[in-house]
Symmetry: C2
Subunit: 452 residues, 2 copies
């Protein structure tokens, strides 16, 4: 939804070259709101409006534009002033934006940047997607441990404009090894003793994350210790940057979407649904559909193997979809309950016996309930199957809950990602099991009835 | 995993009544780490250790205990000292903990609390689960707009111990109406002009959330505006509390788990998997399994309806599981891509045509690929079906992608939660469609072949 409320006024100001009003428009509201009101403008118009904002505000408003508009502006506007903007953007954001641009344009823009910014961009670009390094920013206040509280406060005021968060001050030695952290809260509390050194104030027992760690590790630590930001270090404990709370929220949302995609057997997308090309989407879905299809062929072979029984019991085919979907659904439920609980650490491998016992109990309750319904259904549709369908349902639901719960645990035990044990895989395994159980129950119960 | 590293030393210190070492143990590390090292102690032992910490540290360490241990301590230890602890806990955390206790115990503890704390707890308890009010805290710094920068800094130092975040100062009038916000960053930057009033510094255009809004609204605003905390107001814009960044991360994770549960047709749990009683879990799963089973009966009726065809084509039953699972899997993929994108606003109802066109294209690509595989499979298993199986697969995958994409959009259009259109429902609908398509393709192609 594009907010068009101020578009006519903005266009009029542009036509009139009304610098005063344009400047005021840029500065009056929260930059996120200003960006919303500008979303309907063309790239040329938006850039023209931004020229009337101070550099700080310009950068902030620009950061709140949609990625499409950001890319459009960088592609079409004057290279030199675009480079000036990029130099001021947050270190992590600009890497993300540059990734969307043409390689030639990136090369051209990089040449126009100050050496330090250029190096910083190239370094951040080098960290693989999904690592802590790929989401960190290098705009962070690092202070010497010998600074006094007064000096630190002054340094803070000086740096406040340039760094992403002023709520933690990281204390480093002369070769940038991370020594400790002082929160602004501690600094403010210590204002009564202005000569205290940071060395005396700082906490040395603090959470850090290695630059090559999974970004999920950073989320876990920030969530566990209720942090605003977490420092990122290399293997020598040298400080490289921080990951701030806003990026943590983005990572949590991103990972949740990835897990959802995996659970339905889609390789996670790097872009939003609407921005992913159809050919990419087809590949990310097709791979799994094909694997599942080939696995699913087992059901056809199994049914062919049981051809005799199929011919003997003409009603057998009627209940196949119902039975295998009941098994698949209960298996999906179990897997969906277990997998996120394993990710958040609520369930550990050592809990496997508890999980199995619980799923066994639930399999009996749920399978029993469906068996009762199955009894009624069989009585209506095929009275010959009045005992076979309920017995099968009980066993199939039970194998569904057990497979859904134990397969992710097994994957974890083998060191694989339990989220790979997606719902369609559980369902596919239970499909084959379901058919085998169904036919064998039919044969067994029939011989009992004939025997009796 | 319980960390047992320090357990022997801790127990020795307790036996020796070694107050100095116990006190040092409590204060030396980050409270989260201290809590980890104590996880193996009994409730009695842990409480005894905590007695050696200052009240501030005691509260912090206690907050990092597992919920089970917290409940155990509150239930078993001396009521008066437990009440003292509760009075100091964060306003939102203690409401959560009290919820886990027996009603009689809560009543007894409430009586021991200072009036103000008791009132605060009762007020917070009144907000329904899932609202902004239910996750907010009332420990927040509210300042008068006439305060100067110097006064505000002093007030900040004074309040720093008691409030949850000192990074925003909320400016209110005499009847607690929220007027604006000043960040600590702004305050620090303004230290050069100590006589500036907060009124002149404060931002008045700020994001707020209504106390009865969905907690997800708070998350969206915090994520959109990159905030550390968001103020919670009533309908008169009177400030009631704030939701801080750490609670926002918890809400994001909680909502992701809820969505995952819904997607597999499980009513979201209020507790973790292992702590939810089996009977509750069975109910939350059973309701949906029964509904899906009753819907699934349609497949049995459909197959009964097509009995003639089933008898005529003896190979028909062989491919039923394969065909319906292919349709279900492609439908699940579409629903899983569309639903989270609708939640985050990437896809709006107005985008329906774009979505349909994309899913149509993908249905053709994916259905086409499976059709090729189906051709090979039919040639191997039942050469009579060599054209029927591929044609069916193409059509079934196509209806899978279209149902998976359009049903959530339809639900949204009707004002229902698109997440309710869970994967098993999509699969169930596609199951029935798949059977109808399969049999009709078989009949149609056979008559063409016979006709030709």
């Amino acid at each position: 939804m594009i907010n068009t409320l101020y578009l006519p006024e903005l266009r009029e100001m542009l036509t009139d070259q009304n610098s005063v009003d344009l400047g005021e428009f840029c500065e009056a509201l929260h930059p996120a709101r200003t960006a919303e009101f500008m979303e309907g403008l063309t790239a040329d118009e938006a850039w023209e409006v931004l020229r009337h904002a101070s550099m700080g505000t310009r950068v902030e408003i620009f950061s709140y534009y949609s990625p499409e508009k950001q890319v459009k502006i960088l592609e079409t506007q004057d290279r030199e002033s675009v480079a000036e903007l990029i130099a001021e953007l947050a270190a992590d954001d600009r890497v993300d934006i540059l990734q969307q641009l043409d390689d030639d344009l990136v090369a051209e823009l990089l040449r126009l940047l100050p050496t330090e910014d250029r190096r910083d961009i190239l370094r951040l670009q080098a960290f693989p997607e999904g690592t802590a390094g790929s989401v960190m920013t290098t705009d962070v206040a690092m202070l010497d441990e010998e600074l006094s509280v007064t000096d630190a406060l002054q340094e803070l005021v000086r740096q406040a404009e340039d760094v992403e968060t002023i709520y933690y001050l990281y204390v480093v030695d002369e070769t940038r090894h991370l020594r400790g952290v002082v929160s602004t809260r501690q600094l403010v509390s210590a204002m009564g003793k202005p000569d205290t050194r940071l060395r005396e104030l700082m906490e040395t027992d603090m959470a850090v994350v290695n630059v090559m760690d999974d970004q999920e590790t950073a989320v876990d630590k920030v969530a566990h210790y209720d942090l605003l930001a977490i420092p990122v270090v290399d293997s020598d404990h040298r400080m490289l940057g921080i990951i701030t709370h806003d990026d943590i929220i983005d990572v949590v949302r991103e990972e949740a979407t990835e897990d959802a995609h995996l659970s339905a057997a889609v390789t996670p997308l790097e872009e939003t649904y609407l921005r992913t090309p159809i050919i990419t989407l087809s590949r990310k879905r097709g791979v799994w559909l094909v694997i599942l299809f080939i696995g699913g062929l087992l059901t056809a072979f199994a049914l062919q193997f049981y051809e005799d029984a199929m011919n003997r019991f003409h009603w057998l085919a009627l209940f196949i979809p119902l039975i295998i979907s009941s098994g698949g659904n209960s298996g999906n439920q179990s897997a969906t309950l277990i997998i996120p609980a394993m990710t958040t650490g609520d369930i550990k491998i050592g809990d496997w016996l508890r999980v199995v016992i619980r799923e066994l109990a639930m399999g009996l309750v749920l399978g029993g309930s469906l068996a009762l319904l199955g009894l009624v259904a069989a009585a209506l549709i095929a009275p010959e199957a009045i005992f076979i369908v309920p017995c099968t349902l009980l066993l199939v639901v039970l194998s569904g809950t057990l497979c859904g719960a134990t397969l992710p645990l097994l994957f974890k035990r083998l060191g694989w990602d339990p989220a790979m044990m997606s719902n369609p895989f559980v369902a596919g395994i239970v499909d084959v099991l379901g058919i085998v159980i169904y036919v064998n129950v039919a044969i067994a119960l029939e011989s009992v009835v004939i025997g009796g």
